[in-house]
């Protein structure tokens, strides 16, 4: 096994990407993602990584270049956040529809306006329906492991993967992290061989018109591919566990066995929420936590299994879906529950916008409010928590 070394998470991510032997990196610097691509640029410049680094003029170009490079069969990487992701937007849908195995790290940051460089999930939620596989890391080790996983999955499923790490709270912290031995990485991620690619010797057409008589079939095929990627994603985690002993699942449960109330969360706040669970458990409250690691394709069965027999669920969203019936995760959870006979009460909180702290005490409060939902009908379908009236 590799050595555990204290590293900034962004640097560790860059090193893991380099270990995956990417051919093309195309990126435009934006806070809080910058350290990742800066370090990759250094590795290329120092001759430590044999890759093409394309310092493009915008994120629109960054994604375009990744699409072009990936279409020729190159292994690609990019990273962005907030406005940068929005500038890529139209190309995100092309990357997935073209079934290109691009890997992107999003150092999640709030969308303007007001201008914010701090963390929430408002950027990635805009690409919720884009057809990308989307995962969320809780800590540095998980972020690195999900990089290896992303390449393995992307290239088997022929779909792009967006790995989300919370900006600053994860991207800029120093954690003890173990990078895999190169030998293991090579075993886990074999060289990319794409069956269909742009090759003058064997010309094909990408991006042909989808007339009304074929567009529906193209979208059905793409949707089935994303659904089918679930199996590939889970199997890749099982393979990873065999190699490293580290176990990952689409949905992670914490003290859910006998829980009557649960919170649902994605990303790095899960650690804080777990502390709140421990605190309440000491007081005899049967609370638990569900962490969604795989956001797209949404792991419906795992989710329904994970909630067990809870009586109330509090969904903690990190983004506003303006004018909707809840936050993006809240809407998803309510919709998922309708697929089953389980009918726990669901309350939906939007918290931690633009890097506002959500402390252990806050999570205790959220648990208490979720408890209230068992006996009292919630007044709102969602609530922006902690707002100053």
């Amino acid at each position: 096994m590799g050595k555990v070394i204290a590293k900034e998470v962004s640097i560790a991510i860059a090193e893991a990407v380099a270990q995956c032997k990417v051919d093309v990196i195309s990126a435009y610097p934006i806070t809080p993602q910058t350290h990742i691509v800066e370090h990759l640029a250094e590795l290329v410049n120092n001759g430590e990584l044999d890759a093409e680094y394309m310092p493009v003029e915008s994120e629109h170009a960054a994604m375009s270049a990744c699409i072009g490079a990936s279409a020729t069969g190159a292994r690609t990487f990019t990273s962005t956040a907030a406005q940068g992701l929005l500038l890529m937007y139209e190309n995100l849908f092309i990357a997935s529809a073209f079934r290109l195995p691009i890997v992107m790290v999003i150092a999640n940051r709030s969308i303007s306006a007001p201008i914010s460089i701090w963390n929430d999930h408002s950027d990635v939620m805009t690409m919720r329906d884009s057809g990308w596989i989307q995962t969320f890391a809780e800590n540095g080790q998980e972020a690195v492991d999900l990089i290896y996983h992303a390449y393995r999955v992307a290239e088997k499923a022929l779909l792009p993967v967006a790995l989300n790490i919370d900006g600053f709270t994860l991207s800029h912290v120093i954690e003890p992290i173990e990078l895999l031995d190169q030998e293991l990485v090579d075993k886990y991620i074999p060289p990319l061989r794409m069956k269909y690619k742009l090759d003058p010797k064997k010309p094909i057409t990408m991006g042909a018109i989808g007339i009304p008589e074929i567009y529906t079939e193209a979208k059905k095929a793409q949707d089935e591919a994303l659904k089918a990627s679930y199996r590939i994603i889970v199997n890749a985690w099982k393979e990873f566990e065999k190699l490293t002993g580290r176990k990952y699942q689409p949905i992670e449960s914490y003290k859910m066995e006998d829980a009557e109330v649960a919170l649902i969360i994605m990303g790095s706040l899960a650690g804080t929420a777990m502390d709140a669970v421990d605190l309440l458990r000491e007081k005899g409250k049967k609370v638990g936590l569900i962490k969604i690691r795989l956001w797209r394709p949404f792991p419906l069965r795992d989710f329904l299994k994970a909630i067990g027999k809870v009586r109330a669920i509090g969904v903690v969203d990190r983004a506003v879906s303006h004018g909707s019936t809840g936050g993006p995760v809240g809407i998803e959870v309510r919709s998922a529950l309708y697929q089953s006979n389980k009918r726990p009460k669901v309350v939906n909180f939007i918290a931690g916008l633009s890097g506002r702290d959500v402390t252990v005490e806050d999570f205790v409060e959220l648990f208490e409010r979720t408890y209230d939902a068992i006996s009292k009908k919630p007044r709102f379908s969602y609530e922006i928590y902690g707002v100053k009236e």
Partner: protein
Amino acid sequence: MPKDQGLVSWKKLAPGMFILEPGNSAKFKTGDWRTYRPVLDKEKCIKCGICYALCPDLCYKKDEEGYYIVNLYYCKGCGICAKHCPKSAITMVLEED
């Protein structure tokens, strides 16, 4: 209207709806949204080839006698050929279904 209007099963599409046969756009019939069709009067035609040169869909092809003949499989009926024919040898005629 049949419920299943698809040209081909989604299961048979190549990933990404890629087209694996090069140059198969030639098979795509663009002539079925035409309203007017160009009709050539060979008496007036001087075989100058302006219709051939200006046709945006490359529909015109020279025949053995040297006349340029439109391929109605592709002709969208734009009328550029008729407009620019120096001898007004091409007339746009309404398509009757």
